[in-house]
Symmetry: C2
Subunit: 393 residues, 2 copies
């Protein structure tokens, strides 16, 4: 167990009708004139946006709208938002949507008080310390941004999709989590969200740090809960209780509790970010393709933790680590398939992936040798991408 | 899963030598002139107090000392502390010790800005909203007060031991968690702390609320980690990694994450508080006596959750709920005994407990019918106390 610092100050307001508290919570985070950030029509059609506006109105909070945020959000909307926020003297942001909307709001929150180009933070030129307060009303359990200090933005020029991680500056002040808002999500989006939250746990779980039994058991527990609840939300989208568990799991998966005391990995996320930057696929669907391939490589090179994962999460009984790991991967792939997720490039709709390009961009962005659990060269990541072509072991 | 609000803003600084950050963290919580609260000689003898003072000095923080806080802390020291704090214009508190020291500091923090008697909050006359900031340097993993909004103080007059629970006001601003500080704890204190943290999880786990799979799995995971690591710290007190896991488990057990989305129970704690108020026993040792008896009653009246506990935490394989529950209780009692903990009044050194008195005080303090998982009358709690006489099932 390594030394660590952990602080998750986000106030979670979980349950039915909780969006009616948005106004008071916004006042509570010290904001009176906010930017209201959202995506396309669904939050309008569902009436959610009106309910949030009503709550802001009742609390005396004024707002300026920034709408039409796309999945895999891009820097141009962030620049636009920073510009408007400054002109309107915005003192906080309320994001109503999923990870893309929340991350756009976070990046704007970071950019407004900074005199230079907000991309400097994503380019690693300086550390994010100050940002406007951000509140969130979550509609898609997946990215976990509602409880994390992270933010993913794609630079349009060169398609660089970069994840910025802060300890503190970008953690939302509040997260309204109403599972009812998620019952209308289509199955493919529900499933992709589940693959994403599982990946957030697994990127932390596959660690070279030993003696992290508490953090391991918490991680395995949340994964087991997801595996238990996910089939219910696919089979019966109106199942409030299953939706509630999936929503809470998505937040816990990424608020850092599963990473305490250890080195994390994040290569699978980085590999997927290249796929979605080049081919525009859904992040969660891409992760369902990447993870079994990455795990298969690990079963061959460092099977200890994949074997523990297989035994504790999927109940595999096999005393040989490599065999147990491979059985666990089969179970994981079967689980993804049962939710309707793809497990190969072909199933993602990418018949002939440009693996050379993916490897080149991956190592350009992340370095020559990458990974926390096991260090990977370009030859290694090429081999892993190659395994995704047919999703074979 | 019920609606809930959850916010755990405490900054955890975990690992070796972290007490050297006490000064900067105190400045970070907005305090420059603090009350330094601690117990008896051990923090002095170990040199810890000097290291904390050095860190405060280097950060320019001045301090007034309040020392000699006893286990099961009493209201007289709180009144004394409030009086001194006002005279010295204290703007925060730093507690160096275990739960008794931290709880004394919290109660003083609550009392200083309140014009009336601080006991009003414990008597339920008004809600705790404002307190001076409190920072902690933990030396005993047990009470979980370093990460909770709770505070337990005993009123000397009438021996009323009351637990005050706040959502927010009494959550410490920081918790320094250095597992090295715990390697000198004697085995009985280590074991009592382990029983206490397990109880904090179980009081939340035994809930009438269904469909709380994520919170259940997290709770079970932390319990399994404790059961894995506890024998190591008893067998080898110097085992840093096992000490680290136990320390982190103790904080997670009580910072509220195991209670999200459900009604909690807390009858076992209330029953133990009466035992320790009357007989002065160690809280954790008392809990090891209470819990198996309480669970045995539940195996007879509401075996569903005790059976899940037995199966998932202790790996019991038995399809009948009551039988599984009883096997789980045997395993739990065996685990307590393996750590050197008592499991009966006799082993606690109480040959002839005054059960009538305990029942009377319990229901005076908590009400006619008590409990979250299952509602208990005076006849029921009498039966449960009676089962503790010989620790029999």
């Amino acid at each position: 167990m390594d030394n660590f610092t952990y602080c998750s100050p986000t106030r979670y307001i979980f349950g039915k009708d909780t969006e009616s508290q948005a106004g008071q919570l916004t006042i509570g985070m010290g904001s009176k004139n906010v930017m209201l950030v959202y995506g396309h029509g669904s939050v309008v059609r569902s009436g959610l946006l009106d309910r949030v506006k009503k709550s802001l109105d009742e609390a005396g909070v004024t707002y300026t709208e920034l709408s039409g945020i796309d999945p895999n959000p891009t820097d141009d909307r962030v620049y636009e938002g920073i510009d408007i926020a400054r002109k309107k003297s915005i003192d906080g942001l309320v994001a109503v949507g999923g990870g893309s909307v929340i991350d756009t709001a976070k990046a704007i929150a970071l950019g407004v008080p900074y005199q230079g180009d907000f991309w400097d933070f994503f380019a690693g030129k300086l550390k994010a310390e100050t940002a406007l307060p951000v509140g969130t009303v979550l509609t898609i359990p997946a990215a976990g941004s509602e409880g994390s200090g992270n933010c993913v933005i794609t630079r349009k020029e060169g398609l660089h999709k970069i994840s910025l991680r802060t300890d503190f500056a970008l953690r939302p002040k509040f997260a309204i989590l109403n599972p009812e808002l998620t019952v209308t999500l289509p199955p493919n989006q529900t499933a992709a969200g589940i693959a994403d939250m599982m990946a957030h746990i697994m990127e932390r779980y596959f660690s070279p740090t030993t003696d992290v039994e508490v953090t391991d058991r918490i991680s395995e527990g949340i994964l087991k809960a997801i595996i238990e609840e996910a089939p219910k939300v696919i089979a019966n989208p109106d199942d409030y209780q299953a939706r509630a568990n999936i929503m809470w799991a998505g937040t816990m998966a990424h608020n850092g509790i599963c990473g305490c005391g250890r080195v994390e990995d994040w290569v699978s996320h980085a590999m997927e970010h290249e796929i979605s930057a080049v081919y525009g696929v859904t992040h969660g669907a891409g992760l369902a393709v990447v993870f079994p391939a990455w795990l298969t490589f690990m079963a061959n090179h460092a099977p200890t933790k994949p074997a523990q994962f297989a035994r504790r999460v999927f109940g595999i009984i096999n005393h040989d680590d490599k065999s147990a790991a491979l059985e666990g991967i089969t179970a994981l792939r079967g689980f993804y398939l049962s939710l309707g997720l793809p497990v190969s490039f072909g199933m993602l709709g990418i018949a002939t992936p440009d693996i050379d390009l993916l490897v080149k961009k991956l190592h350009e962005n992340k370095g020559e040798v990458i990974g926390g659990y096991y260090r990977l060269t370009q030859a290694d990541t090429y081999e892993i991408y190659k395994m995704m072509v047919n999703g074979e072991i």
